[in-house]
Subunit: 622 residues, 2 copies
């Protein structure tokens, strides 16, 4: 059977295959935060002709159903279908925002190190061909020539030796020998100028971001991103761990994430017309659970007291072992983790923030699916994970989405009319709300009194916008003939919980180390909020401490940025390792003081209003 | 369908399976030097009842066919069969001779080193279990405890880490950590006393011999041996190399030899009731082609000028990579090779001969499927391969066989009656002739004038014994109601070619280095001749130089003996490596002088009779 898209493109669909899967298989990625379970409602399509079965119509309104709207993940064709994919259902892979930011990263690298020293080194060797007088083995010839150039005691794997004789003869004994830490020889290529490629990968619980990097000049050639399809086994790390301990679960999770990365790779490799074999090294950065699952290592003990990972510092294993479709011998560096709930993504973040090089007190906050905090300076670093949840990445929020094209990233509510206006990434009509939009919206609602200090709607303030929806009270942001965009009271509750967890973590770490927010010299914020985070507003709702705004910097996705730095240089890898070793983890989950801090922060801005003079003034004025 | 043996034992047989294969599958090994092609005629069985198809009756006489004799490899049952296996068709696995000799080896080891230092070392570690205050990763805990005991910078493979968390917890954090060169951690086991096992394997072109060794005391617990089933792809290394370069050929050859070793292992492991997992290390010793094929490395360039192997010194790879059914992480040491036609079996031989430790001039001769010679002392070693062919291992000789039970190992011919008498290994009726029997027979025939100096029968000398056979003239050694044992003129031609190649090699090496046979202080002989080699007779036919007999020593299978020494000690491995590095290989195949020497040696004893005063006297007397 076939699917005909409104663009005229024809796609195949296998028996028993969902439209979602058929599209994905053929390179068309739809948005999804539930991973195809039919619960997030983000993969809406319109069926214009043809017969199909559907497993669920959850999240679809009666009007939508009437108009032929269906969830692609729940739609199984019984005949050829004509399908229209609305823009808001498309997952934008390799989005513009990431590319724009990637230019700054090369600048950052130049200020931090500047000397490119990839995981793989190359040495040119001119090996004397064998003669009847000197017919020792190929490996002995190679090892001898390498030793003459200073590469002694190299390790040669069985895989390397398998192709040795033919590689040497094909290259007529004039070769480049590539080797990695060990030193271990990994591949041979004929002597000729060519670009060398590497990839930096952020494996988030919710999203995966990949940079394709030119290792000769450090340039980021392209980027790709996608949801982590493991979402279909659960939204957060705990449910993933539980799934991993079920029979076959770990293997399935592992193959899922490798599949996502390989899908991203396939499109990048095709777009740039490079051979996957020419990608010679990779760095992955992710939280501890993601790193365990990526390598197929049982994460079971991460969630059991005393929360022990199988390992924090991952040895340099190979792409082949990970099932990643680049050169099978390519070394795959894993940014080191710190503890069960403080992963390589946080070591990456500290590396990018440079707080570990500064004398003054700095704070680093990564707001992703979880929410991690690091406090310290060049002498010491303490860290904690506070379960903030994935709402700022769009998960668990009715119209939440990642910071890609079509996302509402900034919101303003007119204090007299209570009518909203907003900025949309890429311009055009809004498709959903991303993290920065949520914080803006919450703040504006709070400042204008549309919600109270507990986050509940004050209906009489804006009766034309606040209505009773499917899931309770909601505020209507936007409406066109295709869809409404709302923020529900449940959404607001989720956002307040997230901001409370973050503030409680910050507050506790500061107190534990004997500091106050005023002692902070800089605060770096990372996460998938979008192009920017309105610090002012995050302070007003009590997510961030009320300190001078110029101390704040928003760094975007520091996990992939750290992976990028580690891909380029040995110094950066050593720094990441030192950071990971140096960090002291504080387990908040067993801390009663954390619970107290959290409960106090469930208000807007906080139970103790004196901590937030800016908000205090606004409330007073209101 | 079933096969009922005369012993009453019932065996299954699959559809389309030969009787030979069905027996092998169920642990009953028949003799075979053609590997199941129906050409060697060694797997004769008698079918007493039942229907069967046969692909070939080659080598069977009309009388045998009438009596129900069939070749097991060519027999495919169509119904249940009753089968009688004559003693001479049984391959004796784990024969008594090897065991008897193995006791001397421990003595040899004690004189050479005595300090057992296996490939795998064990350290007991008492690792502090994780607590909420110290919950760093399992690997970091293990690495820390190991470093405290002096094991620093260890390598941890992906496979090792996969099972780490559960191994540590199962052992309740009190473990033995096993590690090998690298240092690389390979396995964890609970702290308890247990025997540690290793295997030493000789991979010959024709036969495979395996020793099961107790690594705690160096004792040889058991031995096993079998034909190398690769024989079905060709008798010698050249045909194996040719086969390896055909599509899928290398894989097939590799799986064949691994299968043979695993079959031997299975029976040893069962007999001693040990877990295959408890075999923690292995050493293999074989010629360069066998080592390449064992590791799945293309041997193509070995046979192309300038005869370059892919490698001589094999890295320490793992049992899993080789497909050998012991502990998958077990390191597998390959005794280093010297050149394309001088393999690890020869380095083993020199090690066992101890010639590399002596000041005087020594000669080492290994007469196996090929024939290799080493000349030298503790300062220098030169070596050469002379294509002697596999006849002394029983291959290519009508009634040739390995030196196992039933083999004629010594022969005497009465100079007046020309009637033969002989010694049979294990007593009883003879089944075939092994290498030492062939040399004896040739000498006796020569001394009594039954053959002339060219090896042709002088029929009138013993008309009652010399007859016209299926393949030309033959001498009848033995006859009973079941079979005749003969030596044909073609057999004799083969034996003379083999002895000529060996003598030519010895002669050339001595001349090249400026010595005469009289300069030799000791000569060590290795090979599959059997329990002993009658040096006197080998001198008379001109295979060995005519020097005082007390300079000769017969060492048996030095390839497996060298593997055994290397299994036990790091010093022995270092010595084997030094031997391999030190040896200078001389390519006889491109030497015109070798051809001259060879042609001169195709006589009994030699064209230049003055070189062989002992034989000269005998001829004069005759």
């Amino acid at each position: 059977m076939e699917i005909r898209l409104a663009t005229g493109k024809l796609l195949t669909v296998h028996d028993g295959e969902s439209v979602f899967h058929a599209l994905k298989r053929q390179g068309i990625y739809l948005a999804s935060s539930c991973g195809g379970k039919g619960t997030c409602g983000k993969c809406r399509i319109r069926i214009d002709a043809g017969k199909y079965r559907t497993d669920s119509r959850g999240k679809l309104s009666p009007d939508e159903m009437k108009a032929g709207v269906a969830l692609a993940c729940q739609t199984f064709p019984d005949s050829d279908l004509s399908v229209d994919i609305p823009k808001e259902s498309m997952l934008i892979v390799g989005d513009v925002i990431e590319i724009a930011r990637s230019k700054d990263l090369l600048e950052l690298f130049r200020t931090l190190d500047g000397n490119i020293t990839p995981l793989v080194q190359w040495i040119p060797l001119d090996i004397p061909p064998p003669t009847i007088e000197n017919n020792t083995g190929d490996l002995e010839r190679l090892a001898g020539a390498a030793a003459d150039k200073g590469l002694k005691n190299a390790i040669f794997s069985h895989d390397f030796v398998l192709s040795l004789a033919s590689s040497l003869r094909n290259a007529e004994w004039k070769i480049n020998l590539a080797f990695t830490k060990g030193p271990e020889a990994i591949l041979i290529s004929p002597l000729k100028e060519k670009t060398r490629y590497g990839i930096a990968v952020d494996i988030g619980t919710t999203t995966i971001v990949l940079y394709l990097v030119n290792l000769l000049d450090g340039g980021i050639l392209d980027t790709g991103s996608t949801y982590n399809s493991q979402i279909r086994f659960g939204d957060d790390v705990i449910t993933r761990i539980v799934y991993a301990t079920e029979s076959g679960g770990l293997k399935e999770l592992r193959e899922t994430v490798a599949g996502d990365i390989n899908d991203l790779l396939a499109s990048l490799v095709e777009r740039h017309r490079i051979a996957a074999e020419d990608i010679e090294s990779a760095v992955i950065s992710g939280n501890t659970t993601m790193a365990h699952i990526f390598w197929g290592i049982n994460p079971e003990y991460i969630r059991e007291e005393p929360y022990t990972p199988a390992l924090n510092a991952f040895p340099l294993w190979k792409a082949e072992t990970a099932g990643i479709s680049i050169n099978p011998q390519a070394p795959l560096y894993t940014v080191p983790c710190v503890a069960s709930y403080i992963g390589g993504d946080i070591a990456s973040g500290v590396l990018v923030s440079t707080m570990h090089r500064k004398s003054g007190l700095s704070l680093f906050i990564d707001i992703g699916t979880n929410g991690e905090i690091v406090l310290g300076n060049k002498e010491w670093l303490v860290t904690a994970a506070c379960s903030a949840g994935p709402c700022f990445e769009g998960s668990g929020i009715k119209h939440g989405m990642r910071a890609t094209e079509g996302a509402v990233e900034s919101v303003k509510i007119d204090p007299s009319t209570f009518e909203p206006s907003f900025g949309v990434i890429g311009g055009g009509n809004p498709v959903g709300i991303c993290g920065s939009g949520m914080i803006d919206a919450l703040t504006e609602m709070f400042m204008t009194g549309v919600i109270d200090q507990k986050g509940r709607f004050v209906k009489e303030r804006a009766p034309q916008r606040i209505r009773e929806g499917f899931e309770g009270p909601e505020y209507l942001f936007y409406s066109d003939d295709r869809r409404d965009i709302v923020l529900t009271e449940i959404d607001i509750e989720n956002i307040i919980r997230a901001k409370a967890a973050i503030y409680a973590g910050i507050s506790l770490l500061l107190k534990k180390m004997g500091f106050t927010p005023q002692d902070l010299e800089s605060v770096s914020i990372a996460g998938g909020f979008g192009n920017y985070l309105n610090i002012e507003k995050a302070v007003i709702i009590g997510m961030l401490p009320d300190i001078p705004r110029e101390k704040y910097r928003f760094l975007g996705n520091t996990s992939v940025a750290g992976a990028y730095l580690c891909l380029l240089s040995e110094n950066m890898r050593r720094e990441a390792e030192e950071i990971a070793r140096k960090m002291t983890n504080i387990e908040l989950s067993v801390s009663r003081r954390f619970m107290d801090e959290y409960m106090s922060a469930l208000f807007l801005p906080h139970t103790d209003i004196s901590l937030f003079p800016t908000a205090e003034k606004i409330i007073a004025k209101r």
